[in-house]
Amino acid sequence: MAKHVVVIGAGPAGLETSASLAKFGFNVTLVEKEDLSGGHLKKWHALFPSLMPGYEALDNIRKGLNPSVKMQVSTKITGMEAVNDYFTVTGHNGWQAKADAVVMTTGFQLFDAHRKEEYGYGIYENVITSADLEELFASGKELLNRHGRKPERIGFVHCVGSRDEKVNNLHCSKVCCITAVKQAIEVKQKLPDAEVFCFYMDLRMFGRHYEELYKEAQEKYNIQFIRGRLSESTEDQDGNVVVKVEDTLLGKPLRIKTGLLVLMVGMEPRANTRTLARRMGLKSVSDGFIQPVDEVLHSNYTEIPGLFVAGTCSGPKSIADTLADARSAAFAVADFFKK
């Protein structure tokens, strides 16, 4: 009889892992806590660097899914146990399954921007997050600030919740730099007269065509990049967000008004990923993401035989990297069953 694999989380990683596993001929159950698959990608308007619409990417990922994959939606995993050579996976609604292997594709949660109090998210109306902006793009609404005005200047703050030990996050979320560049370009496409500023600590244009997009942002869209981490923001009488940074390349503090300030929120491990990992006795590194057996050679294996990870639950990844990791996880599972 074909082996049964439970995949937890129907984001891009879960969908792609399930699709690949089904192609190997395994019985696959894909469990999702929400009523719809897609994870964060559902709300994402466009992907870097090609600006492919998020729904188009998601549609394509979903299309790969073999009908044989059993979808178990609206089920939040509350328990998992390794008994002999199989796993028992339990959902909050009483759903239960036995599996020969489990792949955790539980993804990430966005950093809660409220935690960077001094940036004023939730306090100053025109401070929003990158996810808010993405939703605004996806809604097709006009790009206005919360006072109903076209912002004359838009600021992007890189590394919000990333590389910041003040919020206990040492890690880099990888995708925010390029997302900021992408969103800055989209803003300029919608508001050609607006000035756009990116406040960064480092720019990490590590992927193919990212540097090109960055250059295009400078060359074609005149987007200004200021090296300096935001210290604090306040509001002026017109509802503009006044930000303070040091222009570190000039060595001078800088004060600048923005009509809309976008915080590039980073990735954090999900709270329930941590709980699940703890219960299973999985190692998670200090940043809370699950630690695979080896990050170079065995990036999908955990110390528990038969339990695998894929996607962003083991660290920040782009969609492209997530999909590759998901396919790699399916290979790892197949390899595991061979032994």
Binding site: H114, E117, E118, G120, Y121, G122, I123, Y124, E125, E232, T234, E235, D236, Q237, V242, R255
Partner: protein, 358 residues
């Protein structure tokens, strides 16, 4: 601005404040600059709220000025503070109320140090014992005097004769709150509302009918900073800091500034004079300047205490326009009269800032 956003944050930064029986430690600076403020605090607590407050004559400076100016070693400071705690213990009190922000910050810092390094506490106990044969209990509750006024702000509002409201228009007054740096910037959880959006003074302003002004340089230092002012060569830096704040708040046309720190009201008040003499520039309407008060002085004003008895005449920026705006009566002829109607002398009139003397 979304107030509910700030409220969410304030929820995270609440602290225990004792209800009664305070051992009150006065402030070196405040006693000198605005002595009326501490007097009003004691008066309100005793007379209006019927609290037990012990005003001990034997306590000394906490050495905060010396400590922050790098002239007093930390061990010495801790031993002096231990003596204050001993006085509190000897007087039979457990709740320590500090008038000075720097003292409050220092006490907090010391208690935190002792918490993490019990051997340090033991050493200091030994020092104190050897030097004075005194022993002490650590305060059960440590509060800044403004925490206490914050705690009773609604009772005070209920008893007040006036509100922070323009009597002619009924509009709330626009109030700038300025929090002393040592209040919560070092230990955000020890201050009401935290460090980024402290609520301690905002809460009073709201309760007393005013409207809080959140202006871009709200977080900026008043410019006192012991090392800045005390070293004459650095005073230019001190005044420049104050100027930065005035320039930033000016467009909001604030009616007054409320502070909770010894140095801030002094410098925000006196530097307005110095700036006017140096640059010819005054802030506020009609060359009146922006009046700067302590939270106790404001509470006293609203209670209807005689402005001259609580010492408002010793402020550089004159209180009269604000008193008129709120509708608080005063006898102009008594402004510069001492306790028994004796003439205490009229100060020299500044060149640009408006000055009122009968």
């Amino acid at each position: 601005m979304k107030l509910e956003g700030k409220r969410l944050i304030w929820q995270d930064y609440q602290k225990e404040i004792a209800d009664d029986h305070y051992f009150y430690a006065r402030s070196c600076i405040r006693q000198t600059f605005f002595p009326g403020a501490e007097a009003v605090f004691v008066k309100i607590l005793k007379d209006e709220l019927g609290k037990d407050i012990h005003d001990n004559a034997h306590h000394t400076s906490c050495t905060g000025i010396g400590y922050h100016s790098d002239v007093v070693p930390f061990d010495t400071t801790m031993t002096v503070v231990a003596r204050q705690f001993a006085l509190m213990t000897e007087a039979g009190y457990e709740n320590y109320a500090a008038s000075c922000i720097t003292s409050f910050g220092l006490y907090t810092e010391i208690l935190e140090t002792w918490h993490h390094f019990p051997e340090t506490e033991a050493r200091i106990r030994e020092f104190l014992y050897k030097a004075t044969r005194r022993e002490f209990n650590k305060p059960k509750n440590l509060a800044h005097a403004s925490d206490i006024i914050y705690k009773f702000r609604h009772q005070i509002a209920a008893k007040a004769k006036f509100k922070l409201v323009d009597k002619n228009t009924g509009e709330p007054l626009k109030v700038v709150e300025h929090i002393g740096c040592h209040y919560s910037k070092m230990f955000p959880h020890k201050g009401i509302g935290g460090a980024e959006y402290p609520y301690v003074l905002s809460g009073m302003i709201e309760a007393w009918g005013g409207e809080v002004v959140d202006y871009p340089e709200r977080r900026h230092c008043c410019g006192f900073g012991f090392r800045q002012y005390l070293v004459q060569a650095n005073r230019g830096f001190s005044i420049s800091c104050s100027k930065k704040k005035f320039e930033s708040m000016e467009p909001y046309e604030p009616d007054l500034i409320i502070t909770n720190c010894p140095g801030c009201p002094m410098f925000l008040d006196r530097w307005q004079y110095a700036l006017s003499e140096m640059e010819g520039k005054t802030y506020g309407k009609n060359n009146h300047g922006i009046p700067v008060f302590t939270y106790e002085e404001v509470a006293g004003m609203l209670m209807g205490y005689n402005p001259w008895e609580i010492g408002l005449q010793v402020h550089q920026v004159q209180a009269e326009p604000l008193l008129d705006k709120i509708g608080i009566p005063y006898d102009a002829s008594q402004k510069f009269k001492g306790k028994n109607g004796e003439d205490i002398g009229i100060p020299e009139s500044p060149s640009y800032l408006k000055f009122y003397a009968d």
